[in-house]
């Protein structure tokens, strides 16, 4: 299969969906710049023109309401936030209205088929308000679907799926994944929403991961394999609805669970997965569950602090070793080099 970057896959998914569905349009700050939200909207602009891909002022809350109002009339708006942190300003429209619309009006006011794309930042000193990861609060409240593609194939597939779904869908895309390459189907094949992916099979321990942490987990798993440890990596892909079946099947197989995602542990996705395990796979567990999350403080800027803030492949590998009661191997060299160039 031909390979694409995650960014190109996002773009292709959107373009193919727009080809088939004239109701789709894309708006938000900067979507029509030549840089096209890191190369994910420029092709759509070229193909479909400014009537379907257009800029917006900085007005996160109203723009979300506007997307709702257009969706309700039969459009499929895609709104894009260059950083998902800006979305707090839109939580009222998103959680108090879009998420509840279908239910709250008894199904009589239609559905809200809108898609919110939002980018998670990381590193290079982006700081506390440009590197958060909002999956947990978005998924806490019923009514939204929340997706986090971790590979190019799913970047395309989940975009296609979101653009066929009648619920409001939030896609959280990780900036650090945009350059990742991988095989991507040319055909417009949606990735099923609500289905996790076994990113790597293994026997000794299950790592449930999301978004950029899937990449870290896979890197850790490769290194652990060299040390004779067989790790299964489950990429959840969809945060809500969460595919607990796949997660539980894997836990039942390995008996051990480590969970890691891009946000904080407290009331986070990692808490949810650990809770599900403790409720529904308790008998299969051979030892305590472990969560690996960002440090419990706002994101700092300075490089050594950022390095301490984010868990990485080596952190995961070390945690797996500890969970299996093994004495520490040296995993220091395994982390990917950060070759990101600023400003961002």
């Amino acid at each position: 299969m031909r390979e694409l970057t995650y960014a190109a896959a996002l773009s292709e998914g959107c373009v193919q969906a727009m080809e088939r569905d004239p109701a789709i349009f894309v708006t938000g700050i900067a979507v029509d710049y030549p840089s096209g939200i890191f190369g994910t909207t420029d092709e759509a602009l070229k193909r479909f023109g400014p009537s379907r891909v257009f800029d917006a002022p900085a007005m996160e809350n109203a723009l979300t309401g506007i997307a709702i109002g257009a969706a309700v009339m039969g459009k499929r708006p895609v709104i894009v936030h260059p950083r998902n942190d800006f979305m707090f300003l839109a939580f009222d429209q998103l959680i108090n209205l879009a998420a509840k619309w279908r239910y709250m009006y008894g199904g009589r006011a239609g559905t809200v088929p809108m898609v919110v794309r939002a980018v998670i930042g990381k590193g290079w000193g982006q700081g506390a308000t440009h590197s958060q990861s909002l999956q947990a609060p978005l998924a806490h409240f019923p009514g939204l679907k929340v997706l986090m593609p971790a590979c190019p194939q799913d970047a395309k597939g989940l975009t296609l799926a979101a653009l066929q779904d009648d619920s409001p869908v939030v896609i959280l895309e990780h900036r650090s994944l945009y350059g990742l390459t991988g095989p991507v189907d040319e055909a417009p094949l949606p990735t099923p929403i609500g289905k996790a992916r076994i990113a790597r099979e293994g026997r000794d321990l299950t790592i449930v991961a999301a978004s950029a942490m899937v990449v870290e987990a896979l890197r850790a798993a490769e290194e652990l394999a060299r040390e004779g440890v067989s790790v299964e990596v489950v990429d959840v892909r969809t945060i809500r609805p969460l595919d607990t079946d796949t997660i539980l099947t894997s836990i039942r197989k390995t008996g051990r669970l480590l969970v890691t995602d891009t946000s904080w542990a407290f009331c986070g996705l990692s808490a949810e997965v650990a809770a599900v395990a403790s409720e529904k796979a308790f008998d299969a567990l051979k030892g305590p569950v472990r969560r690996l999350a960002v440090a419990d403080c706002p994101a700092p800027v300075s490089e050594p602090l950022e390095a301490a803030f984010y868990p990485r492949a080596s952190t995961i590998a070390r945690a797996v070793f500890a969970m299996l009661g093994k004495t520490s191997a040296a995993f220091d060299g395994i982390d990917a080099e950060d070759n990101f160039k600023g400003p961002y």
């Binding site: 109002g69 257009a70 009339m73 429209q93 008894g106 019923p142």
Partner: protein, 325 residues
């Protein structure tokens, strides 16, 4: 554009009268504590809903806020659906899921009301954007109270509508209070909300919100101008809420003193329903007998709707998850 013909006048009067009687009767029933849903009655403000909705066409869409019964009804929402919703029954317009503040009558062009200030102002702009994109000559109407003009989302929406010359009619019902707070707490002295809209390059007019003919006239002009591509219009309709903010009582009855009995009396003297009736009578456009017949028809409609609502089944607890995904 239609003129204020005798027919229109008669229609407008019937509309305000009907809204008045419905809200009064619902408020009476509300005292029984069997409508378990916080309800914000619109008694006193009927002329705004009637005047605007009578100026709309079939394709136009209407949004409202927490004080929404008048708008739902004036736009054609079924009374039985409203009553059943208040009683939490399955035949409620939102199948007992929404309550008084979450009404819908999509097929009649009343999309929804919602309980969070400012939400539907933006949503109306989105529907207007959809009209524009589809080349449909529809107008989206957003009804809201003047407290919505304190929320930032209102200005974001105004700006967006003006930039894109969207077909939106913003209808502010300025009833002088937000819950118990007077305007002085919420607007700088000397404020004209129309100046604000105008500063956003939105055509703006203040009208007597207790004069259904004037409201209709203003709305009719606005809708016409909007439909022909003139961009959004903002109408500030000055009016007054007779009952307490939420619930069926008069404030004095409930022992509240944030506004005076005199002030209420002053506004009752400017009753939009009586005003319209007197004008019809004075102009010889209606007879006493007709008025009686209209009145009987409304009472009958209410009796029937309430009976239907009370007979309606409760939603089944087994259907709790209906419409989740």
């Amino acid at each position: 554009m239609d003129a204020l013909t005798p027919d229109v006048k008669r229609r407008l009067y019937r509309s305000v009268f009907r809204l008045r009687r419905i809200e009064e009767r619902l408020a009476d029933l509300y005292r029984e504590q069997t409508m378990r849903t916080p309800a914000h009655f619109g008694v006193g403000q009927e002329a705004v809903a009637s005047g605007v909705c009578e100026a709309l066409g079939a394709r136009d869409v209407v949004y409202s806020h927490h004080r929404c019964h008048n708008h739902y009804l004036a736009r054609g929402g079924k009374l039985a659906g409203l009553a059943a919703e208040l009683y939490g029954r399955i035949d409620g317009c939102a199948r007992g899921r929404g309550g008084s503040v979450h009404l819908t009558a999509r097929d009649q062009g009343f999309i929804v009301s919602s309980a969070i200030l400012g939400q539907t102002v933006a949503v109306a702009c989105g529907s207007a954007l959809a009209f524009r994109m589809d080349g449909v000559p529809g107008v989206a109407v957003s009804f809201f109270g003047e407290a919505t003009c304190e929320e930032g989302v209102f200005y974001e929406s105004l700006n967006y509508a003006a930039i894109n010359r969207l077909p939106v009619l913003f209808v502010c019902e300025n009833n002088l209070y937000s819950t118990e707070s007077p305007l002085s707490v919420r607007q700088p002295a000397g404020t004209a909300l129309t100046d604000r809209a105008a500063a956003f390059k939105v055509e703006a007019h203040q009208v007597d919100g207790n004069d259904v003919f004037e409201v209709w006239n203003a709305a009719r002009h606005a809708v016409d101008s909007i439909r022909s591509g003139g961009g959004p219009v903002f109408l500030e309709c000055m009016t007054y809420r007779w009952l307490e903010h939420v619930g069926p009582k008069f404030d004095h009855e409930a022992g509240r003193s944030y506004r005076s009995r005199e002030e209420l009396d002053h506004w009752i003297a400017r009753c939009p329903v009586r005003h319209a009736r007197e004008r019809l009578l004075a102009e010889g456009l209606v007879s006493k007998a007709e008025l009686d017949a209209w009145s009987d028809a409304v009472e009958q409609e209410i009796d029937d709707a309430v009976a239907t609502a009370r007979d309606s089944a409760w939603p089944d607890a087994a259907d709790l998850f209906e419409n989740v995904h």
